[in-house]
């Protein structure tokens, strides 16, 4: 943030006079430090800001109506003992539900499984997606076909894809069931998790690739040419020029995918239904809330998932400086 405090700023002004373009760039540092000094806004600026708020207002209002109510309502539910099987025992109990969930080993197992799936799938997707993006970016012939083909998995409904994976791994009928010798892979914990992750990766790598390809388009051709003449090998061009320039896009892609992966549900629901300790947090929240009809505990889990997702987003945005790709990146560094 605000790389340019006063000394650097003053320097710019001095140097500009020397090179004869005074004033043209002198305004940059002031603008850059943005929120730090509370200088009075000019009439123009204020009008602009007001317009900005007005333009956002309708969307913000709809968002509030649609999301704020359910969120607040689940928080309210999570503070009560509320089991639909025993409606008479409904009672406000403060944070007791949270204590129950957070001291429960099933919750933590599911949390671990979710974390594992998140980290592994996002990491693998990043690598594969980057490869795919590079291929799609570089192909000159049949560009459209390559892109369409790569996107097919993402276009298939997750549940449908999950069923096809399940049948593929089912002993007797599935074509994949025996690739790792005899046995039913979906009945063991490790292999089940591996299959869940495989299904996830297969499905969402194209999405990752698409986001990364947008990032690749941000790398100017001249920059790579310059690196070539500066003596960089293809790998050095990739690691030292492309990746740093693409960083904002990569972070956005990672953020999207991490948030998505953390809420993994459909694949597990279809492939294992949570058997052999393969439940994700979303799975057990669903089991408690919908199947167990325990609104209190279920809501508590939902709120916890919401909080975790919020923390992940916060970490990405604040610590890694994730911003929309293409937004002024000089500002965040």
């Amino acid at each position: 943030m605000s790389v340019n405090a006063t000394p650097a700023g003053a320097d710019v002004a001095a140097d500009e006079t020397a090179t004869g373009t005074a004033g043209r760039h002198a305004a940059v540092p002031a603008q850059r430090s943005g929120r730090a000094p509370k200088t009075p806004l000019s009439e123009n600026k204020r009008a602009e800001r007001k317009l900005g708020w007005l333009l956002c207002a309708p969307a913000a209002l709809v968002m509030l109506l649609v999301t704020a109510y359910p969120i607040l309502y689940s928080i309210w539910l999570s503070l009560q003992r509320f089991d639909l099987r025993f409606p008479a025992e409904r009672e406000f109990i403060g944070l007791e539900n949270y204590v129950t969930v957070l001291t429960n080993e099933f919750w933590w197992t599911a949390f671990g499984v979710t974390m594992l799936i998140t980290v592994v799938t996002v990491a693998v997707e990043l690598v594969l997606g980057m490869g795919l993006a590079l291929i799609m970016h570089r192909t000159l012939v049949g560009r459209g076909i390559v892109r369409t083909a790569a996107l097919i998995p993402y276009g298939i409904v997750t549940v449908v894809a999950a069923f096809s994976w399940r049948y593929a791994w089912t002993p007797g009928t599935g074509y994949l069931a025996n690739v790792f010798g005899e046995g039913a892979p979906l009945t063991e914990r490790a292999s089940s998790l591996a299959i869940v992750m495989l299904a996830e990766i297969w499905k969402t790598t194209p999405f990752m690739a698409l986001l990364l390809m947008a990032g690749l388009a941000l790398v100017p051709e001249d920059l790579l040419k310059a690196a070539s003449t500066d003596g960089a090998t293809a790998w050095q061009r990739f690691t030292k020029v492309m990746l740093p320039v693409m960083k904002p896009a990569i972070l956005v892609a990672l953020l999207f995918r991490t948030l998505d992966a953390f809420r993994v549900f459909d694949n597990i629901y279809v492939l294992t239904a949570g058997a052999n300790e393969t439940s994700s947090v979303s799975m057990i929240a669903y089991n408690n809330l919908i199947r167990g009809l325990n609104l209190g505990i279920g809501s508590t889990m939902s709120v916890l998932i919401f909080l975790t997702v919020a923390i992940i987003a916060f970490v990405f945005v604040k610590l890694f400086g994730t911003a929309a790709p293409g937004s002024d990146d000089g500002e965040r560094r």
């Binding site: 090179t19 070539s228 003596g231 740093p244 960083k247 560094r333």
Partner: protein, 401 residues
């Protein structure tokens, strides 16, 4: 440092475009060569082929005597400066300049020393810790230069390095580039669009059109002895005046009167397939107010009367625009030049740009008698653009024997 030789180098893109056609060019060690030409004539493509950023379709490219057609850019040891500067946005100025050295695996101390040295030459020392985003255009340009010079490469290749700067800064940087090149004595190929850069910077200028070289030579030679219509029209600002000229009874009928022709041109025009219509070219500075001419000079030229349209007083001299009657000169080259230069050639009627002495009392709206120098006239064949007045590479004017 090294010489660069292009031996029938061509570039054909996969879509069939021939961007560069059989270019022959020898660039001596330490020479500063400028590539100019209208947009799309293949300047960048030529430069990219020398750098190794584009494959060579046919022909041979030699750097320091060694064939480099199949070598990667990093094996050619050349440095390139781009119009967009192409600075690495994630690195500071210091890191940007150190990048080629780091890739060459020099030790830290040497790198720092070299970067500091280059920074000093380019007055970048105070900016070393900035990111490119926080620099002005001129400063970025200097960093790009710095990145090229730290490495002491065999050659510098520059693709319109100054065209993103404003006019004043461009003039400043031009001298910086020129001084730097002289100091370092590194072979340089410099692509530009800009007349002035082409005329002032290089030892030799290469004029390209449609992927082919039109003429190569020192700037003054191209200016005085253009080999064809295209070169004549491209070099010079304001550009040469072109008038329609019909060959009749051993004379040229033009809007400026009947122009006599000398022995040599007459012989040229005697052939059966010789053109009956020519294009007469004359530069603005070869006109003068007839009142200010002494008799000795008067004899070497001709005079005509024409209405004055516009007078632009430049202080040292006056640009005076006349309208003259008569057909307009037309040739493919002129149309191409007009398209590239905007309005320069496309005025209605026949427009004449002249540069007269500042003492001339010429005023807008009046009729003025103007003298022009017959020895400086060029005659072009409109079908192929060839300069007919050129003899053994020298232009002898219409009267030359």
């Amino acid at each position: 440092m090294a010489d660069i030789v292009l031996d029938k180098v061509s570039k054909k893109f996969p879509d069939g475009t021939v961007a560069v056609a059989e270019v022959d060019l020898e660039i001596a060690d330490g020479e500063f060569v400028i590539l100019v030409g209208p947009s799309g004539c293949g300047k960048s493509t030529t430069l990219n082929m020398i750098a190794g950023l584009e494959d060579i379709s046919s022909g041979e490219l030699r750097i320091a005597g060694e064939k480099v057609n199949d070598k990667a850019p990093r094996e050619r040891d050349i440095a390139m400066v781009f119009q967009s500067y192409a600075l690495y946005p994630n690195m500071t100025v210091r890191e940007n300049m150190a990048f080629p050295l780091r890739l060459a695996k020099l030790d830290k101390e040497t790198i720092n020393q070299k970067v500091d040295e280059a920074a000093k030459v380019l007055e970048l020392t105070a900016l070393l810790d900035r990111k490119p985003a926080n620099l002005s255009g001129g400063q970025r340009q200097r960093v790009a230069m710095g990145r090229a010079i730290v490495r002491q490469p065999k050659a510098f290749l520059m693709d319109e390095p100054l065209s993103n700067l404003d006019a004043k800064l461009r003039v400043q940087m031009r001298t910086v580039v020129s001084r730097l090149q002289k100091q370092l004595g590194t072979t340089t190929v410099y692509v530009t669009h800009d007349q002035t850069e082409a005329m002032t910077l290089g030892d030799r200028v290469v004029i390209m059109r449609g992927g082919a070289i039109q003429q190569v030579g020192p700037p003054q030679e191209l200016y005085d002895h253009p080999r064809n219509l295209f070169v004549a029209g491209f070099i010079g600002s304001p550009s040469m005046n072109f008038l329609h000229a019909a060959v009749e009874d051993g004379k040229l009928k033009t809007a400026l009167g009947d122009v006599p022709i000398g022995e040599r041109v007459r012989r040229e025009l005697e052939g059966a397939d010789a053109p009956r219509e020519l294009i007469l070219g004359i530069r603005p500075e070869h006109f003068e107010d007839a009142e200010l001419i002494d008799d000795e000079t008067r004899r070497r030229g001709m005079e005509f009367d024409a209405p004055v349209e516009i007078v632009e007083s430049m202080g040292s001299d006056k640009y005076v625009y006349f309208t003259v009657e008569g057909e307009r000169a037309s040739a493919a080259e002129l149309e191409e030049l007009a398209a590239d230069a905007g309005a320069d050639f496309s005025g209605g009627g026949s427009n004449l740009v002249t540069r007269l002495s500042a003492e001339s009392p010429v005023a807008e709206g009046q009729n003025r008698r103007v003298w022009f120098n017959l020895e400086k006239i060029h005659l072009f064949d409109p079908t192929n653009g060839r300069n007919l007045t050129l003899h053994e590479g020298r232009a002898a004017g219409a009267l030359g024997d």
